[in-house]
Amino acid sequence: MKIGIYFCNCGSNIADKINAETVAEAAKSFPDIPYVRIVDFICSEDGKLQFEESLKAEQPDRVVVAACSPRDHEATFQCCLSNAGMNPYLMQMVNIREQIAWVTEDPALATEKAISAIRGAVGRVRQQEPLEKKQLEVCPDALVIGAGPAGMKAALSLAEAGRKVTLVERTPFIGGLPVRFEELFPALECAPCMLEPLMGELLHGDHAGTIELLTMAELEQVTGFYGNFNVKIRQKPRHVSLHDCIGCGECAAVCPARTTNTFNCHASDRAAVDFAFTGALPNAPFLMEDICIRSKGEECRACKDVCPMGEHVIDLDEVDTVVERTVGAIILATGAGLYDASLIAGLGMGTLPDVYDALQFERMLSSTGPTGGEIVTAAGTPPASVAIIHCVGSLDDGHKPYCSGICCQYAFKFNHLISAKLPDAAITHYHRELVMPGKEAHTLFQHAVHNKNSTLKRYDGIADLGVRAGDNGGLRVSAKDVELSAEMVILCPAVTPAEGGDRLAALLDVSRDSFGFFRELHGRMDAAQSSIKGVYLAGACQEPMDIRTAMLEGMASVGYALAGLQPGRTLEIEPITAEVDETHCAGCRLCISVCPYRAILFDTEQNRSSVNAVLCHGCGTCVTACPAGAITGHHFSNAQIMAEMEGVLK
């Protein structure tokens, strides 16, 4: 074997402390070292050219470059090896600048240390093997789960980029939580008006043809991995054809079965076949099988008969369908919910009339809601006084220790909207902290501060607050010793992940944090990536966030999918990965338990593990864990590390 050594003086940076001639002399005594080249600046254009020419002329089998940190220039010199026709993984760098010359006082000791380090590198590089990047065919299409702001933005953007998108939504309508709101913070924009163009684009726009929307559907099974996920989606029957229905609502008018409407927080009722709320898109009702009187054995086809578009539009016998798709990337945009305020004793949630959580109140404010937008008590009269309690379950170690971030802003929106509708109503805000970041949020806050009917009261902990029925009707809100009357109480509970996150996490193997939000690969660097490669996060499924941030996150997740998966381009797989020698694997699965990326698959028939190189990040933890020594860490093998160690210790 012929090992070429290249020593960079780095001007005086290295030369001041390490004597190149002494090193060269010592190195020549190592086996298989026919030459040592001393270069002044090997990373300069001239230096690289000189390096490449020398490699071509000398044709060494392995190369050692003693220069700066491999974190600076390993890739540079690997590229030189490639240019010279060598495999780039046949080089080892020795960091004699940052880790020897610059930190060692005595030049003799620095030179001695450099010689040891080069001896280690020579031993190591002898063990190194040529490695190749593998290419993998990938599917550029995507699955988006959740059709709220983040999911819709992601789906539409992907479609605009020419990707096929399957958009899966659990409810019968798109738009997520905000489509149920009347006006939004910070600028009191009409929510349906704001979202409608986006929803219109999604359903009927230029790129709608590449978006497959599956409402009332949930992910059921996932196999495969980044670039080639095979997904199964189960869609519940709507019983109303989205294709043929014109949304006239004749069926709802004749339906004899009634139930409470969950989308109005049970505050209004609906027919078995009906819309979730007026204006819900897609503009078609859905039939609730368990409410339809046919489920009780009665014969009824009133809806079918009344439909002006023909009896084929409503299919009373429709059953679940399972859709299978192949996608390269999956975007999770499953959104958020609210903490159940009835879990906090003494606030009257669920036990006292006229105590509402924020979602119920949003529906009350909505012109499509149960009261048509009127703010009224259960008795049907406008409240003369309203208490708004912030931080319900947020910033609270007994409930959710985090700040939910959006509540103060919508609480002050409530203040504005209540004042607009009921100018004489007294409004009291009970808050722990006030959080209104950014350049826009202050206006609603200032409005509340300057509203002569508003009072802001600070409380220390939720245990200091109590809501009880008043002796002469109404409610009494106490904060420590001070008690005030209120005819309506609005609670602003902590924002929590939407239900079903545990199921999705298990299906996709993605991690969740202790609060149940999906965990980011890195909170700052890769906040739109999940722990599983190719599964991205968008919106409030990862933490409480407002619509603006959710939309941005939607775009961010699309960025990953577009950058990573391109039509006609294969996926390049880095060769520094682990590999199981199946003949030595005993099937103990220890490797699987330590892999942070779930990159190790287990063949139960063969009783063997194998590493999926697409998912492997090359950390080598499994290599160390394997009791049989059956796993090789390419480019960081035991033999290579041991050889380096022996070399420096000689």
Binding site: V103, T104, H617, A630
Partner: protein, 152 residues
């Protein structure tokens, strides 16, 4: 234990690529002088450091071994440093049983920005091992180093 003033220990340092190796580079960039006794071996993750590397280093002439990892919670590979901690804890129990002072095998955390901490930790480690004196192993066979197992 003999204390020889002229004794200069040989120490192997396993540094993870992302935090500690970058921290060592940072110390270099700041030209923080530290003793030359620690020979750095770069690994991608502290979770890659096999306890057998450490035993092998001690058998083959190192007087001490230091493993430097990302801070807990900051591991580039999420939790490799936790594996390193688990293995280090167990290995130290074994080293003590074998009569090797546990101070000869140190695990610490150095981030990419902590050049000064890197320099301090190296100073401390060299001083500690220098005070302990050369490692004298009576029965190398007791370590059961199996080169045949560590060859892949």
């Amino acid at each position: 234990m003999t204390t020889d003033n002229s004794f200069e220990p040989k120490i192997i340092g396993f540094l993870c690529n992302w935090c500690s190796y970058a921290g060592a580079d940072k110390a270099g960039g700041a030209q923080l002088i530290y003793p030359p006794n620690v020979h750095v071996i770069r690994v991608m993750c502290s979770g890659r450091v096999d306890p057998q590397f450490i035993l092998s280093a001690l058998v083959k002439g190192a007087d001490g071994v230091i493993i430097l990892a990302c801070h807990p919670g900051d591991c580039h590979y999420k939790e490799g440093n936790c594996r390193a901690l688990q293995r280090h804890t167990l290995l130290n129990l074994m080293l003590e049983q074998l009569g090797v002072e546990k101070e000869r095998c140190r695990l610490d955390y150095v981030s990419a920005g902590e050049g000064d901490k890197f320099s301090r930790v190296i100073h401390e480690m060299v001083d500690t091992v220098r005070a302990l004196g050369p490692l004298e192993l009576e029965d190398v066979g007791a370590y059961n180093i199996r080169p045949d197992v560590i060859t892949n």
